[in-house]
């Protein structure tokens, strides 16, 4: 989608698969921006947005999403129920393949009908490196809490989520989320059921403040650096095609009239980030393994602005959430979905 020019290669190979008007608009914006700034760049204005070398997609892992049709100790078959014969995908399971289904299990613990995200290592696209089955995540504000379940608001453009916390996971979750009361933030990873998410692990630590009382952001002096380090998280696809590569960004231009802005509950949120638009390109780098990838901004992440948390996957991130990646992007950059985040540096204007 974003291969605006023939001389560029990028890891947004799947983004074009959306086939939507948005995808075309994103590509067109990149093209038009290049048209304005490229002539100047040739005369020593490389600091202007829109320029940079893209990483090689073939060096990154790839994520495939599908429904488990069959699994044996050596082969996993993914497809979609009712799809035409021959459209299923087969992946070899090796002794190094790890599987997550609420906990780390053997691959044979997968069941027919499970929704699986499979990570394929670079250069070995027929081998499954890691499998996450029925993984889901709920990030938002608790709006209702009873002894059996919670209802969580993820923003006006998403449906409210029901979260059930089983007794075996309650202790682990409550250590990190001590205040399971309406108005407080929650971020939980678990098994996605037909109606509810069964919580398994806390994705972060709960902020001490309620969602409507986010502390005032510190004042920023001078120009904001183009590279910002923080925490990169992931979100479940909600209307997005499976496998799409993109990033939901916490600070879209308020002039966009983005419906999700109203869901934030806070005018600015804690972390002040430079304003961007849908279609802007971000170079996202996983600071834990060095993998990087240019990704288009595909949406806004107002809830991410409310979290002033830190990612501790490798050291402590210097600030909170700077990017909310799609599952495929998160996996492509080497993130472990069951860990919830990785320390990341985003560079704007590539």
């Amino acid at each position: 989608m974003l291969k605006a020019r023939g001389d560029r290669g990028s890891c947004d190979r799947c983004a074009g698969a959306t086939g939507t008007a948005d995808a075309a608009r994103i590509a067109r914006r990149r093209l038009l921006k290049d048209a304005v700034f490229r002539p100047q760049a040739a005369h020593g204005m490389n600091h202007l947005p829109g320029h940079g070398d893209f990483p090689d997609a073939a060096r990154l892992p790839r994520a495939v999403t599908g429904t488990v049709l069959d699994v044996s100790p050596h082969v996993l078959v993914l497809g979609e129920p009712g799809a035409r014969p021959g459209s299923e995908q087969r992946f070899t399971l090796s002794s190094d393949t790890t599987t997550w289904r609420g906990a780390h299990l053997e691959a044979t613990a997968l069941r027919q009908g499970d929704r699986a995200v499979v990570r394929l290592p670079p250069g070995r696209r027929a081998v499954a490196d890691k499998i996450w089955a029925n993984i889901g995540r709920v990030t938002g504000t608790i709006v209702e809490h009873s002894s059996d379940f919670m209802i969580v608001d993820e923003g006006v453009t998403r449906q409210r989520q029901i979260v059930v916390i089983p007794p075996r996971a309650a202790g682990r979750i409550q250590v990190r989320f001590p205040t399971l009361q309406p108005g407080y933030l929650i971020d939980i990873i678990g098994l996605r059921g037909p109606e509810a998410l069964v919580g398994a692990i806390p994705a972060t630590s709960q902020p001490a403040y309620p969602a409507d009382r986010v502390p005032a952001a510190p004042l920023v002096s001078g120009h904001v650096p183009a590279a910002i380090s923080g925490s990169a998280t992931w979100h479940e696809p909600d209307g997005e095609p499976p496998g799409v590569l993109g990033v939901a960004y916490p600070a879209l231009d308020p002039e966009t009239g983005c419906a999700e802005e109203a869901a934030a509950g806070s005018e600015r949120g804690y972390g002040r980030m430079p304003y961007l638009a849908v279609g802007s390109a971000l170079l996202v780098r996983n600071d834990c393994n060095g993998a990087s990838c240019v990704l288009p901004v595909t949406g806004c992440a107002p809830v991410a602005r409310l979290f002033n948390d830190r990612c501790v996957t490798c050291g402590t991130s210097p600030r909170g959430r700077v990017a909310d990646l799609t599952e495929a992007s998160f996996v492509a950059l080497g993130g472990e979905l069951d860990r919830g985040c990785f320390n990341a540096t985003i560079t704007i204007g590539r």
């Binding site: 605006a4 700034f37 009361q181 002039e255 304003y275």
Partner: protein
């Protein structure tokens, strides 16, 4: 000694009223009554809201009460009562801040709303204790009268200024206020209305130079990246469907503007035609239908 006592009444009243106003402004800005926290963070959630309201109301009442009872109207018991309660308020505040500092060292005192984010330190504590003593010192003061001589007035003003300086020195909020006064938000973080960008564009020489080519009043697409806003207008150039792209920097004065003429289908840039200023009258400014475009 009477002069020193006399100065304390307007000082205490001003501090109480400004503290109440700052909290009120914060409540309005955040849209929640229990937003002006501070020591209320020590209490359970259900008590925080009534406590915040009570604190605000008490400050307002005492601030007004100190002024009303300063003269002949409230002399005697009412004046003593107001001054005693003021002293108690600051004493309780000092004790609460001591507790807050131990229990929640990351929380500011909230004394002056948004300005009191800095964690409680010795200066905040000293200020509260000092104001408590000052309020106590005003008990028994006879009704205040306007100074009869110029020298007395100047002495009072001098004393007031000195004490204000002392209080300012004990206020971490002063630094925050000064920073805000001189603060200019970087363009990356500044919300700039698209209409303002369009107005700036229409005043520019780049717009005047290419206005003859532009075929629509409203842009086909508008988006922003960091310090630049991009506006795309349909155009016609030598009977060819085209688009003119303006990149307008979001600087407040004399914004930098870059332009490109691209093919409407391929998006590839091509050479500008000769300036055609007279081909089409200047387009009138018009509000942007942004929600459709962005």
């Amino acid at each position: 000694m009477a002069m020193v006592q006399t100065v304390q009444i307007p000082l205490l009243s001003a501090l109480l009223l400004s503290g109440c106003s700052a909290k009120f402004v914060r409540i309005i800005r955040v849209g929640s009554v229990d937003a002006g926290l501070g020591p209320t963070a020590l209490f359970p959630m259900r008590l925080r809201r009534p406590l915040a309201v009570a604190m605000c109301a008490l400050e307002l009442g005492l601030g007004i009460g100190l002024i009303l009872t300063a003269g002949q109207i409230g002399r005697g018991a009412p004046a003593t009562c107001v001054r005693l309660v003021t002293s108690l308020l600051f004493l309780v505040a000092a004790c609460s801040l001591l507790e807050l500092r131990a229990a929640r060292p990351d929380v500011g005192c909230g004394c002056f709303g948004d300005f009191s984010h800095a964690p409680v330190n010795w200066r905040t504590l000293t200020r509260s204790a000092l104001l408590s003593l000052v309020a106590l010192a005003t008990i028994g003061l006879s009704p205040i009268q306007l100074p009869h001589t110029k020298g007395t007035a100047l002495s009072l003003l001098g004393l007031l200024a000195a004490e204000l300086a002392l209080v300012a020195g004990l206020s971490p909020e002063l630094g925050e206020a000064l920073v805000r006064l001189g603060y200019s938000e970087p363009c990356e973080l500044r919300a700039v209305p698209a209409d303002r960008t369009l107005t700036a564009l229409r005043r520019s020489k780049q717009w005047r130079r290419h206005a003859g080519l532009i075929a629509a009043d409203v842009p086909a697409d508008v988006w922003r990246e960091v310090c630049w806003r991009y506006l795309v207008f349909p155009a016609r150039c030598d009977d060819r469907e085209a688009e003119i792209v303006f990149a307008v920097s979001l600087r407040q004065r004399r914004p930098q503007i870059h332009t490109a003429l691209v093919d409407a289908v391929t998006g590839q840039p091509f050479a500008w035609a000769a300036p055609a200023r007279t081909l089409r009258p200047m387009l009138r400014p018009r509000a942007l239908p942004l929600s459709k475009n962005l």
